[in-house]
């Protein structure tokens, strides 16, 4: 009787040991994956900063004014040529 129990317990012990090995293996793989994703997140942050910078550089008022004047032939607006709409007035 006790021999059988020992056998079962041994089998259980071996299984537990193997699953521990497996779990550790998977944990490491997931950890590597996490590391990669964190790296990716950092890279995306950098890209975002770069894009914000590009937006600010390209959206510089000096550049907008220059393009508006030379390429689009726009002129500054004056009060005389402006019609003001006010809320609640006929």
């Amino acid at each position: 009787m006790s021999g059988k129990i020992n056998l079962v317990l041994t089998a259980l012990l071996v299984m537990c040991a193997l699953s521990l090995v497996n779990a550790q293996y998977q944990a490491r793989h997931l950890f590597i994956e996490l590391g990669k994703l964190e790296q990716q997140a950092r890279q995306l942050d950098i890209d975002w900063a770069q894009l914000q910078l590009d937006q600010s550089t390209l959206g510089k008022n000096a550049r907008i004014e220059q393009i508006a004047r030379t390429e689009l032939n726009m002129t500054p607006l004056t009060a005389a040529r402006t019609q003001y709409l006010k809320e609640g007035e006929q």
């Binding site: 490491r28 590391g35 914000q52 937006q55 600010s56 008022n61 009060a79 005389a80």
Partner: protein, 586 residues
């Protein structure tokens, strides 16, 4: 075998004579004991290494699979009030070399390297001609160049991660934003003032790496890196650009030495724009000069001239000594106090207080000033911030100079009433006008975005402030106003001109050098902006504040009002201003 041998001799094993030879029992005991104690020693040693003194081995083991990784922190971004990026750090790399090893690589590769580093081959060789084992070849190299350099595969060449700060708005915004040095530490303006907030703290983590160099586990405590906090300034990029381009245009038009402008939000005390000319590009500071670096709005003081008159008059009105309609005789345009003459540009005769401001009469203001104790005037100047160290946290901000009232002689009290013998910065002057634009109270200035309106400190009665606003409006739109060129189509404008002689080495410069200034507010029905403009040493025929600074004010105001969608409060849309500078514009 033995048995066989024994049997072959016809003798049983147990009878073997060899067996009969009996060794002394102690010998086997000794062997047994030695063996046993050897095992015991091994077990003890094992126990010792595993359990008791395992530090050394643990350390050796760890050093073979554990690594400490530095986690860098990025410096915070600086943004304008609408979230547009004004300064941002991006990772770049420094290229360094072990000179001996690099010099052994083929000539062709060195030439390519020099080209990629944007230096001549001779320069590169000069840098490599060193006994040291670590030489920076170039710092802050951008990543795409680094990729090309790494492709060359030069021995002894390596890179180190660092950050570079970029300023997309360049010279337009630089006097507000400032810049950092190669070590990413703030050097000027807000970059310097807010260094502690902007700078992050680096972290580190201890990890286990596998044989492929991948991180498989965190061990021990890791220190999280903290990125620097982002900073949102009060400045509005659009208004800043308007102010900058108008100041630049004015300096060029009047062939002046320098110019500056500042725009304040009346409701919140925020600095919406702060422009200087000359300026510099913070991304390329190789040829930086002191004149370019100077922030004239904050760190330079000048004698404000007539822009100071409203304070004297406001004080007299607030204390009930005069009303806007009180009549004062300014005579023939010449007035002598204790032997020292004061003059107006022409004879005005008897004028009302309102006209004294409108036509900017020195004699009228002096007479009003002399009717008051020096102490009261001094208190007024001090309360609006003249001579006081500004508290808005900007490096290099100056206090200006107001001498203690006890040493004022009458002639000095008179000249001070129209802004001579006193020095202020343009920003102090603009802030002082806050008292008129708001109903008699003043609020602290802020270079950072303000979320709720600050509480004001009452200086003069609301009625005095309203009366003063009416007078200031007449300076611009009145028949004899000195600042007709400050008019803005569609809006009611008020302000005051100032023309001062420059002081050099403690006395007035000869030949005369001028500073023309104008401080004004728009729209008068409910002031939103205070705009102060200063043009330093105009060398054309025009040099009065009403000629050089007022048009700049008008251009900045018109564009700022439009940019902020402020509804017009006047029906006048066409303005014809005599531009020949006729009339009195002092």
């Amino acid at each position: 075998m033995k048995r066989g041998v024994a049997a072959s001799k016809g003798m049983s094993f147990s009878k073997s004579p060899v067996l009969a030879v009996s060794l002394p029992t102690w010998r086997s005991r000794v062997v047994l004991f030695v063996l046993f104690s050897a095992f015991l020693a091994l077990a003890g040693r094992a126990l010792w290494l595993q359990g008791m003194s395992n530090e050394f081995l643990q350390k050796q083991g760890k050093s073979r699979y554990e690594r400490t990784i530095e986690l860098p922190a990025t410096r915070g971004k600086i943004m304008d009030r609408n979230g547009q990026v004004l300064a941002s750090s991006l990772p770049v790399k420094a290229v360094w070399a072990i000179p001996e090893d690099v010099l052994e690589s083929p000539k062709d590769k060195l030439r390519q390297l020099a080209a990629l580093l944007e230096m001549s081959e001779a320069e590169l060789r000069k840098k490599l001609d060193s006994d040291r084992t670590f030489v920076y070849l170039k710092r802050q190299v951008e990543m795409d160049v680094i990729a090309k350099i790494e492709k060359l595969k030069i021995d002894g060449l390596d890179t180190r991660k660092e950050y570079k700060r970029f300023y997309p708005q360049g010279e337009v915004m630089t006097h507000l934003v400032g810049f950092t040095n190669v070590e990413d530490a703030g050097q000027e303006s807000m970059e310097l003032a807010q260094q502690l907030t902007l700078v992050g703290s680096t972290g580190s983590r201890r990890v286990i790496k596998d044989r492929l160099g991948r991180i498989v586990e965190d061990v021990g405590l890791s220190k999280e890196p903290h990125d620097g906090k982002d900073l949102t300034l009060s400045v509005d990029s659009k208004i800043q650009y308007i102010a900058y381009s108008q100041v630049k245009a004015a300096v060029e038009k009047f062939k002046a030495k320098a110019g500056a402008a500042v725009v304040l939000d009346v409701k919140t005390g925020e600095v919406l724009a702060l422009a200087n000319w000359p300026t510099y590009d913070p991304n390329d500071r190789k040829k930086l000069t002191g004149a370019q670096l100077r922030n004239r709005v904050i760190t330079d003081t000048f004698e404000p001239g007539s822009t100071l008159k409203p304070f004297t008059v406001a004080l007299a009105m607030d204390t009930g000594r005069i009303t806007p309609n009180t009549r004062i005789d300014t005579g023939e345009g010449r007035y002598v106090i204790n032997g020292a003459p004061i003059s107006d540009t022409k004879a005005h005769g008897v004028m009302t207080v309102s006209e004294i401001i409108e036509m900017s009469s020195n004699i009228g203001t002096s007479k009003i000033a002399l009717g008051m104790p020096a102490q009261e005037m001094w208190e007024m100047f001090t309360e609006v911030g003249f001579g006081q160290q500004p508290k808005f946290g900007f490096p290099g901000a100056v206090a200006g100079r107001v001498r203690p009232y006890k040493s004022w002689r009458p002639i000095e009290q008179a000249t001070m009433s129209y802004g001579n013998g006193i020095s202020v910065s343009l920003l102090q002057l603009a802030r002082a006008y806050m008292m008129f634009a708001r109903d008699g109270d003043t609020i602290p200035l802020s270079f950072q975005k303000v979320s709720e309106a600050p509480v004001g400190q009452q200086i003069i009665k609301p009625k005095t402030a309203r009366d003063m606003r009416e007078m200031l409006e007449r300076v611009v739109s009145g028949e004899h106003g000195t600042a007709k060129q400050a008019q803005v189509p569609g809006y009611r404008v008020g302000g005051k001109t100032g023309t001062a002689y420059k002081v050099e080495n403690g006395k007035y410069a000869m030949p005369r050098k001028y500073i023309g200034s104008f401080v004004g507010m728009v729209p008068m029905s409910n002031p939103r902006f205070i705009i102060a403009v200063m043009i330093d040493e105009p060398t054309t025929r025009e040099h009065f504040g009403g000629q050089v600074a007022a048009p700049t004010f008008a251009a900045v105001a018109a564009n700022a009002l439009r940019a902020q969608n402020v509804p017009p409060d006047s029906t006048v849309t066409e303005i014809v201003v005599p531009t020949d500078g006729s009339g009195d514009v002092m």
